[in-house]
Symmetry: C2
Subunit: 224 residues, 2 copies
């Protein structure tokens, strides 16, 4: 009785990223995943370490491993708050927080992170459909928050991100995204990414502010 040959690392990476082993952007637990792939947990973790270092997956201690930025902790907590929050409230906060994130990312992001940010920006250009664009856009903004190098900033960003997803009026935003608006967004994303990569903190702050003001305008336009 012969054992099947061990699968190649490349095959394993593809299988993990493929999404067939994930439920709602969340991968199966490591133990289950290793069993399913027919490898040991230690080898799986080595592969996951690489993927996480490359920014292709997101891991959180007691929470899981994700193909998208993970939800904020105890996100059910925001259910009550989300009800009394208006789109304007949320955009006000984003307009104060995210420009600062961009500025600090420009100052403190490592060269590797900056190169990765450029690739994430390009991903938004290549998005095949609206859903794909939203995913790429989400990761792009998340990466900037991560690059700020301040765990408090990152935590607050995750919370308003969860809040936005918990609010009902989020659906209205999708209908507001036409092709020309996506094109304009992409130009602004490019300006943000370039400023961050150049280490130009003030320019990055300004580019992010302009971007969010545009998002706010198109969001308010699509609501009563």
């Amino acid at each position: 009785m012969t054992r099947p040959p061990p699968p190649s690392t490349e095959d394993l990476r593809a299988a993990i990223l493929g999404g067939a082993l994930a439920v709602d952007d969340r991968l199966l637990p490591e133990r289950t995943l290793a069993d399913r792939l027919g490898i040991s947990r230690s080898r799986l973790r080595a592969i996951l370490d690489d993927l996480a270092r490359e920014g292709l997956i997101f891991r959180r201690h007691g929470q899981g491993t994700f193909l998208q930025p993970p939800p904020a902790q105890a996100s059910e907590r925001f259910g009550v708050l989300a009800r009394r929050v208006s789109p304007g409230d949320l955009m006000e906060v984003r307009l104060e927080l995210e420009p600062a994130l961009a500025a600090y990312a420009a100052e403190r992001g490592s060269p590797e992170d900056k190169a990765r940010l450029l690739r994430l920006m390009e991903n938004t250009l290549r998005a095949p459909d609206l859903a794909g664009y939203e995913r790429a856009d989400d990761i792009f903004h998340y990466k900037i928050a991560e690059m700020s190098g301040n765990p408090v900033f990152l935590t607050l960003f995750e919370e308003i991100r969860s809040l936005r997803q918990a609010a009902e009026w989020t659906r209205a935003r999708q209908t507001a995204l036409g092709p020309e608006e996506i094109a304009e967004n992409s130009i602004q994303h490019g300006a943000i990414a370039n400023a961050i990569c150049a280490g130009a903190a003030r320019a990055a702050r300004r580019a992010m502010r302009l971007h969010l003001q545009k998002v706010e305008a198109s969001l308010l336009k699509s609501l009563p």
Copy 2:
């Protein structure tokens, strides 16, 4: 057998605010408190309503009634985060958030709230000792966050406030507060309050930024 006369409302208010019926700035539960004071819960709640409207106590649904601004929800959650947060991280975030809070408070605070804010500012001047000053200062900043009229801003403010109290290096700050520093703080508090009461959003933002920069400087000076 005669019943004792019902206590006067004024006595009850004094008893509640006195602190003898509170544990660590948190009042006893309403049911217990009513029993202890020998009045019904409905009358107690009427008195508490008044006190809350005057800003002398703080109530939170499933949490309790407090003599100081209440802690953020599930504050134990921040225990993990507090460990890897430096004073610099926290001041960075405060410098982005609180100036915005002051600006929105100037724009949207009601005349009653603005009058109340002035009284809170005066309370910091009359503080008898260091502990009293810290309490008054805490309430002053909290009131500004409340006046911003944005529940998301208020929530984020409460979280960084809890984070600050959870961090260990908070104690170092007290030793850093000398009489001349308190005097300078008071001048800046006055500038903030005046700008907010005048409805001058930009001036309020600037005054708060200057104040926090000064706090940051004296904080970093007192730490290794």
